[in-house]
Subunit: 223 residues, 2 copies
DNA sequence: GCAAAAGTGTTCAATGTACACCCATGC
DNA sequence: GCATGGGTGTACATTGAACACTTTTGC
């Protein structure tokens, strides 16, 4: 070891996990069962193991706490104010994640992990522990930024989707409406969608399904 | 303390510091005086003190090692691969910095700090220690991104500058040429420059000086 | 008067925005 | 046949890109 261990900060990961539920943008929060801030809501997260990559730590914590896996995850920012945590010096590497709840449903039901984890609509959040409000806001800003400049929005959708499903996701996250002709034009000229079959069994004109040509997150590199 | 200190990673800050020298983009490197990688070049950086903010640690290390201060600094990314440093688990919070060397000149000369610090042209870098090549490349990407979408380019200029000085800085960093009519039009329509006086004593048509209306870094928030 | 860099406008292409009607299905 | 959401094109404004000549100064 390089210097006196007692002078070392602790390192945690925290996650701002977004999903869409019933047409609303939601973020995952945990009710804290221990001090400090016992009973308050906080972002999911925990300590990084000594031999573990940062994003592996984030995925492990999220799975342990909620049973959720197979998510889109990227690093957000590192918060290291000396007094952000009353337990001592705790530096947290915040991450940003998106999940499609439909794909996870069995998972969530099959485990008991989610007892103190709950989705909250972002326009109606409780008070958050530590500096988690700031971290959440940073995550929300990143989310909206990503919707302008990347393919990550598709991680909120299934493998195949209709144009109006894409549009709804954008409208929910960016909190504004789009003209559907212009929206379709813009999305299609990006050239990232592959035409799939026409969806059947709907009580209106059957829509075309699309899928992604390229992996999620590939179009513009995170900066 | 929260858990066994021996299982704690160490936390460092590293910096990718850019400047322009003689029309070329340069990055600051330190020759390592101790193992591991003794004799190799590395990004400036060091351990974070227990009661110190991350960006304060970055500024302190940079000042200790080079005598440089008053720089533009922002957090870049946190690199935490368990095997990135042979000394053990070392998580580094990388930062990105820009300095105007003209403003620093007295400083650099007045101190002895710079003995093993040296500016290197970015198209002619030596082999770097640890994963610093990756960190450098991430910093360069961020630098170019910032030139498209923010006012940070002005941190490479003095308080007053001519349009062609701005253009040169952009051309050096982005490594391409611009048409001066289009360039001036684009910069001026951003509305961030204030007209200053006309520069005198040049052996050609005297240019107008400009200054920044708003603080550096304000136009677009870092994401 | 000449060398050096400064300053300045128009045309064209591409992109973004506003806007409305018909279509295919289930019931 | 009607309710539901799906699909599509044109006109206009804005933005970005190409392009060349005149101006002001020091020497």
């Amino acid at each position: 070891m390089v210097y006196d261990d007692s002078a070392k900060p602790s390192v945690t990961v925290d996650m701002v996990v977004f999903t869409i539920i019933e047409g609303k943008l939601n973020v995952l929060l945990m009710k804290r069962g221990v001090e400090p801030s016992k009973g308050k809501w906080a972002l999911p997260g925990g300590f990084v193991n000594i031999d573990e990559k940062l994003d592996d730590a984030a995925k492990r914590e999220l799975f342990q706490e909620t049973g959720v896996k197979d998510i889109y995850l990227e690093q957000l920012y590192t918060f290291g104010d000396p007094h952000r945590d009353s337990r001592g010096r705790v530096i947290t590497v915040a991450h940003f994640a998106l999940i499609n709840l439909e794909k996870q449903k069995q998972e969530l039901k099959a485990t008991n992990h989610s007892v103190d984890a709950k989705w909250h609509q972002i326009d109606n959040l409780p008070e958050l522990a530590f500096d988690h409000k700031k971290i959440f806001e940073y995550g929300l800003k990143r989310l909206r930024w990503k919707f302008e400049y990347s393919t990550v929005p598709y991680s909120l959708l299934g493998d195949k989707f209709t144009m109006s499903q894409i549009q709804k996701v954008y409208e929910i996250v960016l909190n504004k409406k789009f003209d559907k002709r212009n929206f379709a034009k813009k999305i299609l000229t990006l050239g990232i969608l592959k035409k799939e079959e026409i969806k059947k069994d709907v009580s209106h004109r059957p829509p075309r399904l699309y899928s992604l040509k390229i992996p999620i997150g590939e179009i513009i590199e995170t900066i």
